[in-house]
Each structure stands twice: as C-alpha cells, then as structure tokens.
C-alpha cells in the first residue's frame, strides 16, 4: 500500500485504543574487504518495528515496508498472549534530549571517501609488511550513515543521524612449514575517522609477531598476575559485564551481580557512558526515545545502579537508566554502551613477572549467567625483566567477579578500545593452564 507513513499507522492504532510506538531505521552502508579477493559492497536497508500496548498486554511486529499489515500483525501477537503484565508501557517523554553533534561528523559521501583513503593506505601497508614476513590475511573497512527514529502515541517523536567507520586487520606470520602464528587482530570503530591511526595498527601487529616468534617454553606459575590490554577487556570483560549489569538479569538471578553483593576492590569505579565522545555506541536517546545519561554502576565496592529500560524499570521498581537497545526486528532489550573503568590511583602495571593477555578465544563458551569463563589466550606474552616471550595454547579461567576483585593496578594509558575506556589492568587471582 503506497502513501502510508508512520503517523498513519500510529493514528490507526490509537483509534483502536492502543498505545503504540514505531522504531525505524534508514541505513546506508559501504564496505571493502579483502582476504584473497577484494570485494566491495553497498547496501541500503529500511525497517520498522511496531509495539502496541493495551490492557496490560503487548503486541509486536516488524517489516521492511510500511503498510497497515504491520499493525494487523502486531494485533495478532497482542491477542496471542493471555497473561497480563501491567509493566508494559509505551513511554512518555522524560526531559529534553541533548543531541550529540559528534555522532554525525560526516555525511555518507564523505564516509565513502574516507573508506577509499583507508583502503589505499592498507594496500600500501600490505605490500610493505609482506617483505617483513607479516601476512595481512584479511582486512575490512566499512562505514555507514543511519537515521534512527522513535515515534509514539505518547508524545515522543525524535530522530537523529549517525555515521561512522570501522576498520579491522587480521595478520599472521609463518614460523615454519605448516606452522603459523595465531591470528593477530586489530580493529577500531568510531564516529570520527581521524581517530583511526593505521600506523599504530601496523606497529602493534609487527610487535606482536615479534613477541610470538620468541616462544616461551618453560612452565608458568598457574596463579601469575595477568595484565589485560584494552582489546582483551573489550573481548572478555565487556560481554560478560554487559550481560551481568542488566536489571533483567539481576532481577531474575541470572547475573553474578546483585545489589547486596559487594566487590572487595573499593578503588574501582565503573560507569556506563552512552555519550562518550566518538564512540560508535554513543547516542542522544535510547531505543525507546528517552534521553541518554551516564550511569554509575559500581563505586567503592558497591553496585550503585544496574541498567534498565522502561519495562524492567517498572518491573523491578528501579530508576529507568534509559539503556534500551534494539533493532527494528526485535523488542527493546538492555545493554551497556561505552563502559569506563576508573581507579583511584593509576600506575605502571608492568613490574615483576606478568602474563599479558591481548586476545582471547572462546568467550562465547563462557557461562553468562554465572560469569564463569574458561577461554583460550590466543594472543598473549610473558613479560619478565623488560623482555617479552610469546605464549601458546594457554587457557585462562575465572569469573567476572574475580576480575573486578582482583584488579590491583590500572595503567594511566587510558583509551577507548571498542566499547571500553580504561587503562591496561593488572589482575590477581585468575588461573591459567
């Protein structure tokens, strides 16, 4: 059906007695990647997710096109669940939204130009590195511009444009016939492409190849202190932490954290910051159209807040932290954005003998309910008296609470890597095999 817009659907829903909300996106993307072939792709996608609420019941449907079928399908779902839950609510505006300028620094055509620039630079680096026996096995440069909007029958009608770039490089080096180093993976994603420095990427890859080629063969103390780089924190700590601080999981005892549980490390503060400069997860409003704000999660050993959306704030009777996240294909859930780790005193974590963990493998095998993990250290090295030796085939085990309790030192090299902003941290009390 042509000529239908989101307001027609919301009006019809309202006339039928429903409180309704449409979350929509219009997304343009471009990416270039190469393994043994170079491929370039452009894409366009639009989609609409409709929630309706009436008499303590919820309906939902999505579509890539706008028509009244969207409403009919949501009503079918509404009728399919008999159980009533009066915590369902399409939210009303809660204060004004302070729009972030730095999440849309470039238009899509400028993003496309940046992608081509990065692509040319990577090609040059690829040739340069191959002469030093480092093989870039894969890279990807991609960028996007998206319009995200939320409109509902309760007075919210808001949208914003966001654009950004992500870049990833994967490399290895042949040690001898049939044996290569583990994959070395560097990546960044940002709303500000000038933050990405390819020199830094390439230097890190070269350093890591050198570390891995100098293999440590002696046994290592199972309780050795661990230093997590920001990349390792983004890969291991972030998924476990993000899941554990959701009000839903805390409320349902599906989290290792609870309001009454203390962390013995009183020097650590943890903040969720959806307005962190240039982070790709930053946004002016959450997926229900409510203004974003910083949330202090952990301070002086106490969990001060967990993250919520409208439903779970109502259900658990806690403050709504406006942490709803979703795609148009799903209902809103809860997630962290950029997590900041802060320590009272910061110092150099490199002293004595320590195992540095830069990449881990198998985080998807962790138990996200309990926070237990047993992951392979796919890129790590032993630091001892300013010398570095690559370690292979090592398993790191523990629990996310062990990490929080065990942080003894945070370096002053604070930076954002993916969705975490921190210095490197030194942790006691984890186990290696």
């Amino acid at each position: 059906m042509s000529g239908i817009d989101i307001y027609n659907i919301l009006d019809r829903a309202k006339n039928l007695g429903y409180s309704a909300e449409i979350y929509y996106i219009k997304l343009k993307e471009k990416d270039i990647e190469e393994d043994v072939q170079i491929s370039r792709k452009s894409s366009y996608e639009e989609g609409y997710g409709l929630r309706i609420v009436k008499d303590c019941k919820l309906g939902f449907s999505y579509s890539n096109t706008l028509s009244y079928d969207l409403l009919d399908n949501a009503i079918e779902v509404y009728k399919s669940v008999e159980e009533k839950d009066c915590n369902y609510q399409i939210p009303s505006p809660e204060g004004g939204v302070n729009f972030l300028k730095e999440i849309h620094l470039l238009e899509f055509n400028e993003i496309t130009e940046k992608i081509e620039e990065f692509y040319s630079q990577i090609k040059a680096y690829k040739n340069e590195l191959s002469s030093s026996d480092v093989n870039i096995t894969y890279y990807n440069v991609s960028g996007f511009e998206v319009q995200i909007g939320v409109a509902n029958t309760e007075g919210i009608d808001i949208n914003e444009l966001k654009s950004g770039i992500s870049l990833s490089l994967m490399a290895n080096s042949k040690i001898k016939e049939g044996i290569v180093t583990p994959d070395i993976y560097e990546y960044d994603y940002t709303t500000n492409p000038s933050e990405i420095n390819l020199d830094t990427f390439v230097n890190k890859i070269k350093e890591n190849v050198n570390r891995l080629k100098k293999r440590y063969t002696d046994s290592i103390d199972r309780g050795i202190d661990i230093i997590f780089t920001q990349k390792a924190l983004n890969e291991l700590f972030m998924p476990l932490f993000s899941r554990a601080v959701s009000v839903e999981n805390v409320f349902r005892n599906k989290s290792p954290f609870s309001k009454n549980k203390r962390i013995s490390n009183e020097k650590l503060t943890v903040i969720d910051n959806p307005r962190y400069k240039y982070s790709l997860s930053s946004r002016s409003f959450d997926a229900e159209g409510l203004p974003t704000q910083e949330t202090k999660i952990l301070e002086k050993g106490e969990f001060t807040n967990f993250l919520s959306n409208t439903y779970w704030a109502n259900k658990a009777k806690v403050k709504n932290t406006h942490s709803a996240i979703r795609t148009y294909l799903t209902l809103p859930t809860i997630s962290t954005t950029t997590v900041e780790l802060k320590m009272k005193d910061m110092e150099d974590p490199f002293y004595d003998k320590v195992l540095v963990v830069d990449e881990v493998q198998g985080v998807n095998t962790a138990n996200f309910d309990t926070g237990d993990f047993s992951v392979n250290v796919s890129l790590g090295w032993l630091y001892h008296r300013k010398e570095e030796f690559g370690i292979y085939n090592m398993v790191l085990s523990g629990n996310i609470i062990d990490i929080l309790n065990g942080i003894t030192v945070m370096g002053n090299d604070v930076k954002r890597y993916g969705n975490i902003a921190a210095g490197m941290i030194r942790v006691k009390g984890l186990k290696i095999v």
């Binding site: 894409s43 583990p182 209902l331 309990t370």
Partner: protein
C-alpha cells in the same frame, strides 16, 4: 522491476555474470521466562542481494527494495584491476520445497501456550530458580537467479527451542544448564518430546549443583557425540573452509596422514537426521550441494568451497557458499559436519582409564587459523578406573586440532547429529554437527 530485467540490464552494461538472491524469511521468536511470556520478533525479513562480475572484477549491493539502486551500486563497486574469476555453471531450473504441516497450522497463541506449559513443568522442580525458554522459527524462502539462466527456488522451515535454567549450589554460587533442539523438518515441539527436553535440562542442572571443580591438566578423555560434533565443526571444519584453509594450516597438509584410519570427517548438504539444520540442497550461489570428505581414513583430503574459491583452487564447487540473510555476502561455510562412526563398542572407550574425563555437552567453541581450539563444557564427568564417576562443572577443553586428531585412539559405532548455529564474520547460520563417541589419549582440560 523484475529479476529478469535487472539481470538483462546488467548484461547490457557489460557484466560478464550477474546473480540475484532474494531472501524472504517469516520469523517468529517467543520468549517465556518465570516472569513473562513475550513474542519478541514477528515479521517478514525481505530483501535482495545482487552481484556482478565485470572484466574480472566483482561488485556487490543489497537492498530491501528491488530497483535500480542494486544495479547502480554494484557497478559503482567495480574499481580494481581484474583478478577475480568464479566458476560458471550450466542452465538449471529447480525447486526444492519442504512444506511443514504442524508449524504452519499452529497459531502463535497455541505455540505460546505450549511453551508456557514447559515453563510450568520446570517451575515444579524446587531447585529451579530462573527459567528462560526461547523459541524460534524461520520459514525460509530463497530465490536464486543468474545470467547463466539458473533459477533455483528453495523453501524450508527451521524451528528450535532452547531452555536455560539456573539454580544455586551448596556454596551459594549460581549455576546454570542449557539444552537446545532444532529441526528443519517441521515444528520442533512436535518433532521432539518436550518432556524429554525438560528432563534433560533438569538432569544437567542437578549435575551442576552437585558438580565438583575438575582438576586441570592433560588427561585421557572420552568425548560424546555432541562434543565430537563441536570438535569436528570448530576445530577441523573451519580450517577446511577454503578462505581459512588457504592462509591456515589445512591446505598444506592435503594428502598427509594426521590421524588413525578410523578417523573420517565429512561435510554434507543433507544428513538423515531431524537435527541436520545445515540443510543446503543448493547453496546461496545456486550450486548443488555435494558431500565433502575432509578427512578420509585419517588423511587430509578436501576443502569446502564457493564459486570463487573453486575457481581459485581449480576444483569443482562443493555448494558451501552460504549467507545469513540478504544483507550478508556469501562466505564459505559448513553445512552438516560430522565424524563417521568407527568400529569400537562404547564401553571399550572407557577401559583402562584410571583418572580422566567424560565430556558430554558443550557451551560452544572457537578456533584460530593456527589450528588452536577452545570450547566450554557444560556437562562432564570424572572417569575413575574405567567408570563414569562424579559430575564436574566450569571447565573447558583446548588444544591444537592436528595434535588432537592424532591422539584419537578409538571411535565408537554410534552416530548422533546435533543442531547448532555457527558464527563467522558476524554471520550466524544453522548447522548440523555430530559423530560417534571418541577416546582422545591426551587433551588439555581447564579447571582448578
């Protein structure tokens, strides 16, 4: 615009080859917990992916609309010096359709009620503190059109249920257990008995409650079919995907014996099992699925390819080009990957093990191109003096694939296939995996 018009216009503009994938997937997701019942997804995900080869260059585009954007964008992505070749195939028109009877006849409301019944059954166990039941169904329709005049139409359902239950152990620590079942035949709660699924979830949870932390180190282990499946998929199958095989270790080992003759691993487009959800009669490049013998009598034999890697390696395509949806590019992916049964009786595998482990179920796994692998164990037991003993918890197994394959000393006669989802480059696709029971003489086990 019609697909024929799009392909003709591509040829008119000089394309040597063009193909269009149309994906139309009716999706339904239901979440039932101890607190709520929600339909979390309901709709049709519909879009197009277009590709051209022009003077040995390739350009891609995708969109939720079938219009000139697809054509113009694909051509705008032609930039490089031409190096790309793909295998071209003869004309073919075919249709493969599985029509579910129960899945499409049941209403959303009936499905919600059946899931709520499982929830209520689980609530009757006092040890259960939280319940998460996730139901999904995708009624997948794929249409493939190419300038070779290949028109392939596939339609089939995939539906599944996963249950996670949590409890608290004697020390007050949170423990959890999960079970998942999926099928491509029809409605999962008709194909599998919900009571059996519930029973197994509770058994796993109770093992976690009374489980002990295992001793870490290198041990002799017996792996059950589900773990063997994850091992063959994660540790070996990924290494056999042509894009990873080229830069990794497997291609260089082709023709070499790395395991005993009893070790045989295949990747198959269709397997005779309800859980063989890697069902791929034609892949997403319109290629007929062929079985690939990755390891044949202990010898590295073959790799999985799409049209591009077939041309690159100078071999026939195997039908392993798969994409998660219309947004995603085709990658070399597995379908149903499993180890073939051997000659031993199950009890022989445990004989003579003084202290070791029996690993029955996994959380999932991951592998590196250097051949390293790691996966988490959710159900495992000590083996003491050849007998299965107390349950263990919170552990993982890891190692190097080639070394581990060489450590397999016995393969049982059984064969079981499990369903799962495989992630690669951000794309998640349904796969089957499995095998017999195997005995591995030395394997690294994580723990205390």
């Amino acid at each position: 615009m019609h697909y024929e018009e799009l392909l003709r216009k591509a040829e008119d503009r000089g394309a040597d080859f063009a193909d269009l994938r149309e994906f139309k997937v009716k999706t339904l997701r239901i979440s039932v917990t101890e607190e709520t019942s929600q339909v979390t997804t309901n709709g049709i995900d519909h879009g197009y992916s277009f590709r051209i080869v022009y003077k040995n260059n390739m350009g891609y585009s995708s969109s939720t609309k079938l219009d000139e954007y697809l054509l113009d964008s694909a051509f705008s992505n032609i930039k490089e010096e031409g190096k790309i070749k793909i295998v071209l195939l003869p004309k073919k028109h075919d249709e493969v359709i599985i029509e579910p009877k129960v899945l499409t006849s049941k209403s959303i409301s009936e499905k919600v009620k059946e899931l709520e019944k499982i929830r209520n059954d689980l609530k009757s166990f006092s040890s259960v503190k939280s319940i998460s039941i996730r139901y999904y169904e995708d009624y997948i329709e794929k249409l493939y059109y190419s300038t070779e005049d290949r028109v392939i139409h596939i339609k089939y359902p995939v539906s599944g249920v996963s249950i996670t239950v949590t409890s608290v152990d004697k020390d007050g620590n949170l423990v959890s257990a999960s079970i998942s079942k999926s099928t491509y035949k029809d409605y999962v709660l008709e194909t599998f008995d919900p009571n059996e699924i519930t029973k197994e979830a509770i058994e796993r949870l109770e093992n976690q409650i009374r489980g002990v932390l295992p001793k870490a180190g290198v041990f002799t282990v017996v792996l059950a079919p589900e773990v063997v499946g994850v091992f063959t998929h994660e540790a070996l199958g990924h290494l056999a995907e042509a894009d990873l095989a080229i830069t990794g270790i497997l291609l260089g080992l082709k023709g070499k014996k790395i395991a005993s003759e009893e070790v045989n691993v295949v990747d198959s487009p269709i397997v005779d099992s309800t859980e063989g959800i890697g069902y791929t009669p034609y892949d997403d490049e319109g290629v007929e699925g062929k079985e690939v013998k990755i390891i044949d009598k202990g010898v590295v034999n073959d790799v999985l390819t799409d049209r591009f890697y077939s041309a690159y390696l100078g071999k026939n395509p195997t039908g392993n080009g798969r994409a998660e949806d219309f947004r995603s590019k085709v990658l070399v992916r597995m379908r149903n990957t499993y180890m073939l049964p051997g000659s031993h009786k199950l009890e022989e595998l445990f004989e003579g093990i003084k202290e070791g482990y029996f690993m029955k179920s996994v959380y999932g796994g991951q592998t590196g191109s250097d051949g390293s692998f790691q996966f988490g164990i959710q159900e495992g037991y000590y083996i003491r003096n050849g007998e299965i003993s107390e349950p263990i918890k919170s552990t993982g197994i890891s190692g190097y694939t080639i070394e581990t394959l060489g450590q397999i000393t016995m393969v049982s006669k059984n064969l079981e296939i499990s369903s799962g989802f495989c992630g690669k480059s951000g794309q998640l696709i349904p796969v089957g995996s499995g095998g017999p029971y195997i005995r591995v003489e030395k394997m690294k086990v994580g723990g205390t």
